[in-house]
């Protein structure tokens, strides 16, 4: 004897965040039931295991049906299938697109292709994030990347506009997209100590100062790509190493700017010449794609 069919459909679709998170985290129905039980769901309303199982199944089904809509979040607001309160819609979208920084760190700078998708097994093992969740996060990256890759205008705003995400989340996505597009190498052992947030900060800076959009807002700006001309111009920086006067001037200006702003100021001041030379050497080589990719390695190794 068994339950052949068991559904519950409400006119208003109510999303229970707790269960949604379990689903997003890639737990199977049975695991989710276990987790909910541990969290004391049974004490509510004198529920039994069956009730919890049935409820979890129902919600998982609802999430699966909603997932299709979440691929392009703007659809969620004007679809007719589910009547979802606005704040739940926001929550659904935001949570769906949230990602684990550990995971993002692993795929940062990699090509968001099918090939990388095959590596998800390993990433899942390494990070302890369920494979299902890894897939979702990876697919989100790909989806966002695909949409904003070719778009003009500020990257963060594009992400926010198209995926209705909060600003902080959109910034993180911008970093992911930026890294994926420029294919910065981040996987080397030497870079392992850097977190996703570290890279995201760098990405933010690069987007703000080094991209086409940063240089000229009016142009056919693409926040995604580094400005070629700008990189080319970096060659000129050699004078800062070669010319003693300029070097000193540069040093005084930098020191003036950074005084009392960084902890290692004295070391920096003492070592300025070496540091500057290393940086400028890196900068002048950025004309090659290969070197652009190795930017962070170079910075860590030679800086």
């Amino acid at each position: 004897m068994s339950m052949e069919l068991d559904v519950f459909v409400g006119n208003t679709t109510i999303i229970y965040e707790e269960v949604y998170q379990l689903w997003l985290d890639g737990y199977s129905v049975n695991d989710a039931v276990k987790m909910r039980k541990e969290n004391g769901a049974l004490s509510e309303c004198e529920a039994s295991d069956d009730v919890l199982q049935s409820d979890t199944m129902d919600q998982y089904r609802t999430f699966q049906m909603c997932e299709r809509l979440l691929y392009s979040p703007s659809k969620l607001a004007n679809q007719l299938l589910f009547q979802i309160p606005a704040h739940s819609q926001t929550m659904l979208i935001e949570r769906y697109y949230e990602f684990d920084h550990n995971f993002a760190r692993e795929v940062l700078g990699k090509k968001l292709s099918k090939g990388t998708k095959k590596e998800l097994d390993d990433i899942s093992l390494k990070t302890g994030i369920a494979l299902r969740s890894c897939r979702r996060q990876f697919d989100n990256f790909r989806r966002v990347f695909k949409v904003v890759e070719e778009q003009r205008g500020p990257l963060v705003e594009n992400v926010q506009h198209h995926f209705l995400l909060s600003e902080s989340l959109a910034k993180d996505y911008a970093a992911v997209v930026f890294f994926a597009n420029s294919r910065f190498e981040t996987g080397k052992r030497k870079l392992q100590y850097l977190s996703f947030q570290d890279f995201a900060f760098c990405a933010g800076q690069l987007i703000s100062y080094w991209t086409v959009g940063a240089v000229d807002n009016m142009m056919e700006d693409m926040d995604v790509d580094l400005e070629k001309e700008f990189l080319h111009d970096l060659k000129e920086l050699k004078v800062l190493v070669n010319d003693k006067d300029l070097l000193d001037q540069h040093k005084s200006l930098v020191c003036f700017q950074l005084r009392e702003k960084i902890r290692v100021f004295t070391e920096m001041e003492a070592n300025f010449k070496n540091l500057s030379r290393a940086l400028i050497n890196i900068a002048t080589k950025l004309i090659n794609t290969k070197d652009v990719r190795d930017l962070f390695i170079d910075l860590v190794e030679k800086g």
């Binding site: 208003t12 089904r61 607001a77 606005a86």
Partner: protein
């Protein structure tokens, strides 16, 4: 050519990708009505096409307008091969034919395909230009309004209630035609959907004609059902109550605007007003209608009161064509019986061949007495319908059953049947027809032509809270051993000890404590058989099934210490090898009726000590449960002082102070108390297995979790302070029995557990709405296959304010006031009230109001809503807990509370989908329905050949139900509405074949599309006179 239908196709969105190569679609649209088809241009390579077509015009008869749906097909253009259909939209244009309903249909409709479900949306604009047609012999009945609501719709006033209308049409089921073997499932499903749509249109039109003939302008309590008889055809039948309705804002504005109740919400005034609003029961005035006299002449007391007078018709119509020599085809207007009646009475009642009313709640003063439940069942063998134009067989079958119901009602001394409904259960070629209702005596007030008879209105004022409980039958001729006592409210008239009804609890009824859902569930095995043998077997089983259901109900009622059932609905479903019986009702403690005795268990010969112990244990358990239930449902009736068995002689007695329901009982009887004639405890013998089973099922019913209540009536008796948070839901479960040898007991347990677990699951899912009540819990059971049991539930969960529910002391007062409100002034005669209780100050303020709002465009509407608002205010002021209530509503993390914010947050992400609420009830708490836009009656088929891929049977049905909701909402929104009331899912037929990876499901839903406004919004929009605002300012948001 009296009508022009115009349609315009605006745009599409979210279309599916039809061309894999380009990931795009070349969509165009075909618009079809009747035999005329128009096409739009192809909008190439777009998933969001903008057609912006011209107006397609169809010039058609209004008969066709009523029957036919507008059919919109979206296709993908293909240069080389046939165009692929994306999906269809059927739009019922009936609402546009009624001047008072919608004027335009405009909005996004889901594009539906019976194989793929919803595939994108299409924006359509539809209008109708109707030319007046005064042709007397016309076939159409445009303008007759239809309501699913089983009470007088909220913004109308009943002028006359004409009575029962019914009709049925039959056809061959396309699924079973020879052509079905060669056409695709899609084509077959579409043919079926279209046919049913046509048939319901035709049915509605024919019923409309009958209504016009009777002189009415509306059908209330319209109930349409499908019988999928398989090989033998498809029957669509409908019943309803013909009425003449008056829109309130049009006729009684001036009168209501000067109603003094508004400005003087003092208790005395209110109650005085109330006393007049609810006319006394003119008992001394003799039989109120000629019909009643007639019924009394043939009074044949034979049936047990309050027990259903039921019978199972074992007579088989094997040769239906020759059956029913009397030819009393109910569908035809000229049966001989009818002719006879016509000769006898020339009054307005002449049309009332069957004095049946599908209403379940009534204008005040309409329902005088209630006799008890009457029901009739009959088992028939289906035969192919040979001539669809002559559905005489089916008509004859129903005619038979209705006659039986009528005679049962007569036996109870009643001239009418209210809360009447009909249903069928079909398995292979056997069909069980059932009808049930509540025998009652009605006031002639709404049944006579011309003006209402006002002379009786103030005569013999009886405490209205108990009037309907007083027995309608003759005490001396009482044929059954019932225990009558004097009414515990008025102490003047006799009441029975238990009352079973199919109607909603009358708003004026006095009750003690709260009510609860009571279900009797029964499963009986049946040998597999064919044809006549099968029918006989079923017929033989039916009476036992009904008897046992009844016993179960009675036991459970007593276990809860209650004495009346409302909304009783008994469903018997037949399968190949079993019969399922499910009786649902809402139990209450009617203050007027005596307190029920306990339950006593008696064993067989007391030889065994352990057995004795077992019995006494059980007895203890039962007694404990009764005590617990009394607490749970807050039932503290007056203490029983003395037992006087069987002698209903009134004796003066000191009234117990516990007796709370004294607010309406008059002073002179307040010193009286009656011997209740406390009955012997209900004795249960557990000699046989059946009784053991009974007791088990009694004790296995889990109590509802704290904070939850449940009922199957419109609202929970005893709860009045609803918040606006609500959630309508449908839940379906199918259980597979795998044991080959199932016993009756085993089956019973399975079925019982299935229902109990389903309820538990519902409570869990809706836990965020606590404190809340599941209202209108409507269970439907079916046996779709040999070893499957299907249970479907549709209900609404409504939150209420807890604070209020604790204030028992105020309950009665509240109720009185609530009554004044819910029975709403709409239905009352304002001029009368005015003369009775007008005060000069009231006049002033009211006049002030009409001046203020006079120049406003919709002043009249506003006036009347303003009145209601004020009444609510008056009501809430005295409740005292409004503050908590409104704050609760705002703070509550509840679904509808949220959806409100959705509406206000329109700016969010371009969210342009309007929120549409759905409820099986006839109202939405905290709101006022300002317009009825027409009936929603939709039929969908969904089929899949990739069941596993769609998430198995649960995934398939889950998405289908969600799609059905979406389509209902879209249609309502397109009509300009924001809610569906009286929503019901009448049919949910699910068939699967997992081996073939296939499943099919048919769903039929109906309801009334309405526009509602929040009372808080009315308040904001309407200027208020000083006197009123002084009161209301402190009261916050009303219920």
């Amino acid at each position: 050519m009296p009508g022009k239908l115009k349609a315009k196709i605006v745009a599409g969105r979210h279309l599916p990708v039809m061309d894999r190569a380009s990931d795009l679609t070349d969509a165009f649209v075909e618009v079809k009505f009747g035999n005329t088809t128009f096409k739009t241009d192809v909008c190439p390579k777009s998933l969001n096409p903008q057609w912006n077509s011209e107006w397609f015009k169809f010039e058609v008869d209004d008969e066709d307008l009523q029957d036919e749906p507008l059919q919109i097909t979206v296709l993908d253009h293909d240069t080389y091969s046939a165009n692929d259909a994306i999906g269809k939209v059927y739009i019922d244009i009936d609402p546009l034919l009624c001047s008072e309903a919608a004027t335009v249909i405009s909005g996004w409709f889901p594009i539906y395909d019976t194989i793929h479900g919803i595939r994108g949306e299409i924006n359509v604009l539809v209008k109708v230009d109707l030319f007046n047609d005064l042709n007397r012999f016309r076939q159409s009945s445009c303008g007759v309004k239809f309501f699913c609501t089983t009470s007088v719709p909220r913004c109308y006033r009943a002028v006359l209630v004409h009575g029962f209308v019914e009709e049925l049409v039959v056809n061959e089921d396309p699924e079973y035609q020879w052509i079905d073997r060669i056409r695709t499932p899609r084509a077959s499903n579409e043919a079926r959907q279209r046919l049913i749509s046509l048939m319901s249109g035709e049915l509605q039109r024919k019923i409309g004609l009958k209504v016009l003939e009777m002189g009415g302008n509306a059908v209330v309590g319209y109930l349409q059902c499908f019988d999928l008889e398989g090989e033998s055809g498809l029957v669509v039948r409908a019943i309803g109550t013909a009425c003449t309705l008056d829109k309130i804002s049009n006729t009684h504005t001036s009168a209501s605007a000067t109603n003094p109740c508004n400005s003087s919400p003092s208790k005395d005034m209110k109650e005085a007003g109330f006393g007049e609003e609810t006319p006394g029961v003119p008992l001394s005035s003799g039989p109120p209608t000629p019909l009643r006299a007639q019924t009394f002449s043939s009074f044949s007391p034979s049936k047990s009161y309050s027990r259903q007078s039921s019978s199972s018709d074992t007579e088989l119509s094997l040769t239906p064509k020759t059956g029913m020599g009397s030819g009393g085809s109910a569908g035809k207007e000229a049966g001989p019986l009818k002719a006879l009646l016509r000769q006898q009475t020339q009054s307005a009642l002449e049309q009332r061949e069957f004095p049946f009313f599908t209403l379940t709640s009534f204008p005040p003063g309409f329902l005088l007495h209630v006799g008890g439940v009457v029901s009739a069942r009959s088992v028939k063998l289906l035969d192919r319908i040979h001539n669809p134009d002559e559905p005489e067989t089916r008509d004859a079958w129903w005619e038979e059953i209705r006659q039986e119901i009528k005679s049962h009602a007569k036996a109870l001394g009643c001239h009418a049947v209210v809360g009447y409904s009909e249903s069928t259960s079909i398995c292979e070629e056997v069909c069980i027809l059932s009808a049930s209702g509540t025998a009652a005596i009605l006031s002639s007030r709404f049944m006579q032509d011309g003006t209402l008879d006002t002379e009786h209105r103030f005569e013999d004022l009886m405490p209205p809270g108990c009037g309907f409980c007083h027995i309608p039958y003759d005490e001396l001729n009482m044929p059954f051993p019932a225990q009558l006592t004097y009414c515990h409210c008025c102490r003047r008239y006799k009441v029975p000890d238990v009352l079973f009804t199919t109607i909603d609890l009358p708003t004026e009824a006095n009750i003690t404590g709260k009510g609860c859902l009571i279900q009797a569930r029964l499963c009986r095995t049946k040998k597999k058989a064919q044809g006549e043998g099968n029918a006989t077997a079923i017929s033989n089983l039916l009476p036992f099934l009904e008897y046992e259901l009844h016993t179960q109900l009675m036991n459970k009622l007593k276990l809860r210490s209650m004495n009346a059932l409302f909304g009783l609905r008994i469903q018997i479903s037949v399968g190949e090898n079993m019969l399922l019986g499910l009786a649902s009702a809402t139990g209450v403690y009617l203050t007027a009726l005596p307190s029920p005795g306990g339950i006593q268990i008696a064993g067989k010969a007391p030889s065994d000590i352990t057995y004795e112990q077992h019995i006494s244990n059980m007895q203890k358990k039962i007694n404990d449960t009764i005590v617990r239930n009394k607490e749970l449902y807050e039932i503290n009736p007056p203490e029983l002082v003395e037992e006087v068995i069987g002698s209903p002689i009134p004796e003066p007695r000191q009234r117990s102070r516990l007796f709370r329901s004294h607010s309406e009982s008059s002073d002179e009887v307040s010193e009286l108390d009656l011997s209740h004639g406390k009955k012997d405890a209900f004795v249960l013998e557990i000699d046989d297995t059946d009784a053991v089973e009974d007791i088990h099922s009694l004790l296995t019913d889990a109590p509802t979790p704290p904070g939850f209540y449940s009922c199957n009536t419109e609202i929970m008796p005893g709860i009045y302070n609803w918040t606006s948070a609500l959630q309508m839901f449908t839940s379906v479960r199918v259980f597979r029995l795998s044991n080959v040898n199932v016993t009756n007991q085993g089956l019973n347990k399975v079925f019982n557990d299935l229902c109990e677990n389903l309820l538990k699951s519902l409570y869990f899912k809706l836990r965020s709405m606590v404190p809340c009540c599941l209202c209108h819990l409507n269970f439907t059971v079916a046996v779709p296959e040999d070893e499957l049991i299907q249970v479907a539930v549709t209900a609404v969960a409504m939150s209420f304010d807890k604070e209020q529910s604790l204030e028992n002391g105020r309950q009665i007062v509240d109720k009185t006031l609530m009554k004044a409100i819910t029975e709403n002034e709409e239905q009352l005669q304002f001029p009368l009230e005015l003369t009775a209780e007008s005060s000069s100050s009231a006049f002033c303020s009211a006049k002030g109001l009409s001046e203020v709002s006079g120049p406003l465009p919709s002043a009249r509407d506003r006036c009347s809503s303003w009145i209601e608002q004020l009444r609510l205010k008056a009501h809430t002021i005295r409740r005292g807990s409004i503050k908590t209530m409104s704050s609760l509503e705002k703070a509550s993390p509840l679904p509808e509370g949220r959806s409100r914010s959705l509406r206000s947050n329109r700016s969010y992400a371009g969210g342009s989908v309007a929120v549409v609420k759905m409820t099986p009830l006839s109202f939405l708490p905290g709101t006022k329905i300002i317009k009825y836009l027409g009936i929603i009656n939709m039929f969908f088929i969904r089929e899949t050949t990739s069941l596993r891929e769609e998430g198995g049977v649960s995934g398939f049905l889950h998405s289908f139900i969600a799609e059905v909701f979406a389509m209902v909402r879209a249609h309502v929104a397109a009509l300009g509405g924001n809610a569906v009331v009286s929503y019901s899912m009448k049919e949910c037929v699910f068939m699967e074949n997992p081996n073939k990876n296939q499943a099919q499901c048919l769903i039929n839903v109906s309801g009334d599309a309405v526009i509602f406004v929040r009372e808080s919004e009315i308040e904001a929009a309407t200027p208020q006179p000083h006197s009123a605002s002084a009161h209301t300012s402190s009261s916050g948001e009303g219920t």
